[in-house]
Homo-oligomer: 654 residues x 2
C-alpha cells in the first residue's frame, strides 16, 4: 500500500475505507478500479473524485477521495440513466429523422428526454418501437466518447442541424467549458459523465409521455417529454415493473378513499387530511400501541398547544431561520403567534419548569404533537406529503453517562415497533465529518457519543452503515430505513442527539457534585409522522391490515333475516370483548354480503344460518383466504382476542 | 282570574306561567305580589316589568309581563346587593364623616362602593367595625325612599356636600330623569331600584379593599373600593364563607401547579395551557372513558385539522360574523386559512363526502377537537378561560323521525357521564319565544322538536325548567348545569338542534320516498371543553381524584433499601395489571415518604417491610383516611383493579 506523497507526477487516492494508494498522474478511473479488482472494474459505471462524478476513462490528475460507482450506488445509477437518455435520443433520431432535442437528464427513478417532434404527435403506442431500437443500439456496445469543443464549433454543429434548443443552451455556456458526447451515430451537447458503452444497458422501459414547455416557460413551445427507466439486467426491469404494478394497486390515495380512511377536502384545505372514522380507528390503534409501549419504557406523555408565541422559536433559533417552511405569524394583542413547526421547544420549556436533580434523569417526555410546515401545493400528496401532521415525538433529557443506555433503548423501541409490522429496518449512523468544523456542542461530547453509538450498535449485534458528514448541526444521529412488502425503502424515524438546545434554553440539572450541568437531549420519533407512516402502512399491507389495526374486525353475515337476532347477539358479545364487529342485517343474498365484506377487506366474516344458530357456532371466512370451517362461537372469540392482543400479522400480506 | 282588557284605568299583568290578571292602573308591585300570596309579598325584593326592574312600592301603570323578584332570582339578588351598597355608604358616612362617594353597584357576587376617604388610608382591620355599623343600621329597618328631583336641586345638594364625584355624575344626567334614594340618614343619587327596607339585610361580610381610579381613568384620583356581600340569612353567609374558603383551598390554579397537572408559560403563550404528565394522564383517562362510552352508543370518531380554509367558515356563516372572537387569517399561497373556532363545519363536510340513505342515519361523528377563540388577556384564567381548548364534540345527523330517540340518547349520555363524578345535573330546556320571529328553520320543525324534547324529558322523569327565548337562532337546545361538591353551579355541555347548517352545507339524505331530504343536526358536548371541565373536576374533588383518574394510583414505600427489590417486584405486577404505580426507593425515613405521598394526594400507599416481604402482603394506607391494615398483595391488586374498572368515587370527596 502506497504512502501519501507530494510528487507532482503521482497522485494519492483515498478509498472510502480510508486506505490510500498512489498512482501516476493521468491514471484513469477504470485503471484504478482494476487495481482493486477485475470485477469492480467490470461493474464500474463512473467514479466520484472529490465529490465530482467523472467518466471512467478520464485521466485522474489530482489526489483525493474516490468512490467507484457501480449500479449499487446512487451516483452509478444516475450515470447509467443519463447515458440511457442519450440512447433514447439516438433511437428517436434514428426513427424520426429531423426531430429537435431539448434536454435529457437522469431523475430519481430513470430518465427523460424532451423532444420536438415537429408536427408529429407521438402516442404511447409508438414507445415499444423506440424501446426496441434502444436495445438494438445498446447491443452494438458503442462507446460514449467525450470531446472538448470550442463554442464556435459547437454553434456551427447545431446551426447545421437547425436545432434551436441546443443553440439556446449554448448561448449560456462559455468557451472552454463545452463538451460533446458521441455514441454510435448520435452526438449530444453534454457535460457528462457517461458509462463506458451502451452495452451496459440490458433492459429499457419507456414509461410515459408528457408535455413540457421548453425551459418550463409556457411562452415557449411545448416539447414531448418521454419518461423511461433502464437496468443492467432484464430481471431488474421485470422486478421494477412488478413493483410499479403492485405500488399502483396499493396506492394509499386509492385505498384511502375506497376504505374510507381519510379525505382531503378543498374547502377544508389542501394538504390537510381529515381522518375518517375507519382511518381514526387505525390511527388511534397505532397511537395506543406506541403509547403503551412508551409508558412501559418510562416515558411520560404531555399535550402542548398547536400554536406558540414567536419568542419560543426565536429562542430555539427556528425563527427566522426556517421561515420559508413556516406559516406567517398571527398577531394576538401585542404578541405574535405561530402554528408550531415542531414540538421540541415546548418540551424544553416543560423541562425548564422545575429544577432537576441527576437522580430525576432521564426524563422522557412524549407527545403525539401536531406540527405545521408549508409545502408547495404541487408537492402535496395524499397522506405522505401534507401541510399539517402529527409526530410521535419524544425528547429524552439525560446525563452524558446515561446517553449510551438511552440510545440503546431508543434503537430497541424502534426495532420492536417495526418488527410488529414485519418491516425490516436498515440502520445508518450519521456522524460528523471530522474535517468539518461547523457543529454545535463540545468536540469531546461528539467523540464520546459517536464512540458510544458504535458500541451500542455492536453490542446489539446490529448490521449498520456509517455515513460520515451526515450528522446534523446539533449532534450525531441514527437513521432508520424500513423496507416495505414490495421492497421499497422509506426513511422513517431518527434518533437525534442535541447539544445545542440545552444551551439555548439554558437547561440544567444538579449533579452529584452539587454543580449545575447541561443535560443532553435525544429527539426521537419511530413513526416520524402518523400521516406519512399510515400512508406507508396502507401500501405495505395493501389495505389488508393485521386484525388489531383493522377498522372493522368481524362482519356478521346472517344468511337471512331470520338470523339477524342471533347475529346481533354474537356482535354484542364480540363488542363486549373489545372486538369491532358489525351485523349486515340487510335483506340481501349471502353471496352479495360476502362479496361486499371482501371488497371492504374485512378480516373475518361470520356467516350465520340455521345450523350455526342451533349449535351456537359460526361459519368463518377469512378475507382473501375464504372458508375456514365451522367453529364454536366462544372458541373463535377467544382466538380473535388472542390474535388482536398479540398483534398477529395476517398470513396473507401479499 | 281576570281577562285581558283595554280599559285605560286597568292594566293586564301576565305572570311567568302565562296566566293573567287585571289590576287598577297604579297598583304597586307589592300589591300584585300580595294578590298571589302573602308569603311571596314578604319574600319579594323588587319586580321586573317588561324586562325593567322596579321598586316594589312603585305604582305600575302599564300592562305587561311581570316577575316578582325574590332572593332566589338573579334580579332579586341584584336589587338586594345594590341596596346593601347604599347601606355600606351609610355606615361609612356615619363612621368617617366627610368622605366623598363615587359609585356603588351590585356585581355578580355582592357589591362594592368606591369611596374617597381623603387622607385616611383604610385598612382591612377597619372592615369589621363597618360591617357592625351596617348590621346596626339594617336593624332599624329604614325604608329606601325614592324621590324624583330636579337637576338644579340635585346639584345644589352635592355642592353643599362638596362631593365632586356625584357632581361629575350629575353633569351627564338630564333634568327630569334624576332620582334620589334615602334610607335613614343617607341619601344617594341613584336610578334604583331598591329593596323595601334595610331590615331585609341580615348578614354582611366586607371581603376586600382595592384601589380604583375615578371612572377607571388613571389621570383621576384613586378611590378606595370596598367589596362586600350580604344575605337575607346569617346561615347563607356562613355557607358562603365556607364555600369561599373551600374554593380557595380547591383553586385549580393552585392545585394544578402543586399536583403538576398543567402549566401556563408566557414564552409558549397566554391562555395556552400545557398539559404536564400528570394532567395528561387525567385528560387521557377522561377521553378514554367518554370515547368508549360513545363507541358503545354508536358514535364514530374522526380527526380533523386545526386550521381550515376561510371558505369553510364563509359557508357556515361564522366568518365574518364571529370575527371578533377569531384569530386573524393566515395567508397560504392565494388562500386564507384560519385557526378553527369550531369543529362543526369540518364534520358537515365529512357528512357531505358521500350520498346517504335514510337507512344509514343517524350518523354520529365525534371528535376531541381543538378550537381557538380570542379572549382578552385580562379575562384569561388558568384552565377555565383559555384561548385554545379541546371540545368533546359530536354531531349527529338524523331524520326528523329519529330526533326524539337521539335527544333521549344525548340526555342519557350526559346524565351518565356526570353521575360518574357524582355531579348532580340540572336541566334547562331552552325554547324560542313564540313572539320572536328571528329563527332559522321551518316553524313546524321547531314546534315538533320542542314538543318532543318536552316529551323526552317527561318520559325520562326529569326535573327540568323551561327557558323561553333562550333558544339559539339555529334551533332549541337543552342546557346542563352541574353542581360541584361545594354547591357551585357550572353550565357545561349543551344539546343543540340545528336546522340552519344542513341548508348552508346542502346536506341531504335519500328518503324511503326516493327524494332528497335535509337531515337535522344535533350538536352536543357533555364536558364542553376538556380544559374547563378539568378545572371544575380539580376543584370538585379538591385534587383527591377517584382512583381511575389519579395520575399515580399506588405509591410503593419500602421502609428501607432492603425492601426496594420487593417493592419493584410488586410495582411490576401492578403495572402489568394496568395500574399506575411507582416505587419511592430513596433512602429516606418511611414517615417522610408517607407524608410526601399524602401531599401528592396519591390514593394508595403500600408500605413494605420485613413482614410484608415474608408474607407477600402489603400494609395499605389510603390518602386522607390512613392505615387500612395488612392485605395479601394479590387480593389487594384485584380490589384496586375492580375499583378502577368500576370508576368508584373516593369515600372522602370532601
Amino acid at each position: 500500500m502506497a504512502e501519501h506523497t507530494t510528487d507532482v507526477n503521482t497522485i494519492t487516492i483515498t478509498f472510502p475505507d480510508k486506505h490510500q494508494r498512489t498512482y501516476p498522474a493521468g491514471t484513469t478511473g477504470y485503471e484504478i478500479a482494476s487495481d482493486i479488482s477485475g470485477r469492480l472494474a467490470n461493474d464500474a459505471l463512473s467514479i466520484t473524485l472529490n465529490e465530482t462524478v467523472m467518466d471512467l476513462d478520464l485521466p485522474v490528475r489530482e489526489s483525493g477521495n474516490i468512490r467507484i460507482n457501480t449500479w449499487e450506488t446512487n451516483d452509478g445509477k444516475m450515470t447509467f440513466w443519463h447515458s440511457s437518455a442519450h440512447l433514447l435520443a439516438e433511437a428517436v433520431e434514428a426513427l424520426y429523422p429531423g426531430v429537435k432535442l431539448g434536454i435529457g437528464p437522469a431523475i430519481e427513478q430513470g430518465f427523460y428526454y424532451d423532444i420536438d417532434f415537429g408536427d408529429h404527435a407521438v402516442s404511447t403506442e409508438e414507445l415499444p418501437a423506440i424501446e426496441k431500437k434502444m436495445i438494438e443500439l445498446a447491443r452494438s456496445k458503442s462507446e460514449y466518447v467525450r470531446r472538448e469543443i470550442s463554442k464556435d464549433e459547437a454553434v456551427n454543429h447545431y446551426k447545421k442541424k437547425e436545432d434551436p434548443y441546443k443553440l439556446d443552451l449554448l448561448n449560456e455556456l462559455e468557451d472552454g467549458t463545452i463538451t460533446f458526447y458521441t455514441q454510435g451515430n448520435f452526438t449530444d451537447l453534454c457535460r457528462g459523465p457517461h458509462i463506458p458503452h451502451t452495452g451496459k444497458v440490458k433492459a429499457v422501459k419507456l414509461l410515459s409521455l408528457a408535455g413540457a414547455y421548453w425551459r418550463g416557460n409556457s411562452d415557449n413551445k411545448q416539447l414531448t417529454r418521454i419518461y423511461g427507466i433502464s437496468f443492467p439486467k432484464q430481471k431488474m426491469l421485470d422486478e421494477y415493473l412488478h413493483m410499479l404494478e403492485e405500488a399502483r394497486k396499493r396506492d394509499h390515495k386509492k385505498l384511502g378513499k375506497e376504505l374510507g380512511l381519510y379525505m382531503i377536502d378543498s374547502m377544508v384545505g389542501s394538504g390537510l387530511p381529515i381522518w375518517l372514522p375507519n382511518g381514526t380507528v387505525l390511527r388511534r390503534s397505532l397511537e395506543a400501541f406506541l403509547r403503551d409501549e412508551q409508558i412501559n419504557r418510562g416515558y411520560q406523555e404531555v399535550i402542548t398547544p398547536h400554536i406558540a408565541n414567536l419568542k419560543l422559536y426565536e429562542t430555539s433559533g427556528h425563527y427566522p431561520y426556517y421561515k420559508d417552511s413556516q406559516y406567517d405569524p398571527i398577531q394576538v394583542d401585542d404578541e405574535q403567534y405561530m402554528m408550531k413547526p415542531m414540538n421540541c421547544p415546548h418540551h424544553h420549556r416543560i423541562y425548564a419548569r422545575e429544577m432537576h436533580s441527576y437522580r430525576d434523569l432521564p426524563i422522557r417526555l412524549s407527545e403525539f404533537g401536531t406540527v405545521y410546515r408549508y409545502e408547495q401545493s404541487g408537492e402535496l400528496n395524499g397522506l405522505s406529503r401534507v401541510r399539517g401532521f402529527t409526530q410521535d415525538d419524544a425528547h429524552i433529557y439525560c446525563t452524558h453517562d446515561q446517553l449510551k443506555e438511552e440510545i440503546k433503548n431508543c434503537i430497541d423501541l424502534t426495532q420492536y415497533v417495526f418488527s410488529i409490522f414485519d418491516m425490516p429496518v436498515d440502520i445508518r449512523l450519521s456522524f460528523r465529518d471530522e474535517n468539518e468544523k461547523k457543529f454545535g456542542g463540545k468536540s469531546e461530547y461528539w467523540e464520546r457519543a459517536q464512540r458510544e453509538i458504535r458500541e451500542v450498535a455492536d453490542e446489539m449485534g446490529l448490521d449498520y452503515t456509517v455515513a460520515e458528514g451526515e450528522a446534523s448541526f446539533y449532534g450525531p444521529k441514527i437513521d432508520f430505513i424500513i423496507r416495505d412488502a414490495i421492497g421499497r425503502k422509506w426513511q422513517l424515524g431518527t434518533v437525534q442527539l442535541d447539544y445545542v438546545m440545552p444551551e439555548r434554553f439554558d437547561l440544567t440539572y444538579m449533579g452529584s457534585d452539587n454543580q449545575k450541568h447541561r443535560p443532553v437531549i435525544i429527539h426521537r420519533a419511530p413513526f416520524g409522522s402518523m400521516e406519512r407512516f399510515t400512508s406507508i402502512l396502507i401500501e405495505h399491507f395493501a389495505g389488508n391490515f393485521p386484525l388489531w389495526l383493522s377498522p372493522l374486525q368481524v362482519a356478521l353475515l346472517p344468511v337471512s333475516d331470520l338470523f339477524n337476532a342471533q347475529a346481533n347477539s354474537y356482535a354484542k358479545r364480540l363488542r363486549e370483548a373489545g372486538i369491532r364487529a358489525k351485523v349486515d342485517d340487510r335483506s340481501e343474498q349471502i353471496g352479495l354480503k360476502i362479496r361486499e365484506a371482501e371488497t371492504a377487506k374485512t378480516p373475518y366474516m361470520f356467516v350465520i344460518g340455521k345450523r350455526e344458530q342451533e349449535n351456537q357456532t359460526v361459519s368463518v371466512r377469512r378475507h382473501k383466504t375464504g372458508d375456514l370451517g365451522t367453529f364454536a362461537f366462544d372458541e373463535y372469540l377467544d382466538k380473535l382476542s388472542h390474535e388482536i392482543k398479540n398483534r398477529h400479522l395476517p398470513d396473507n400480506i401479499q
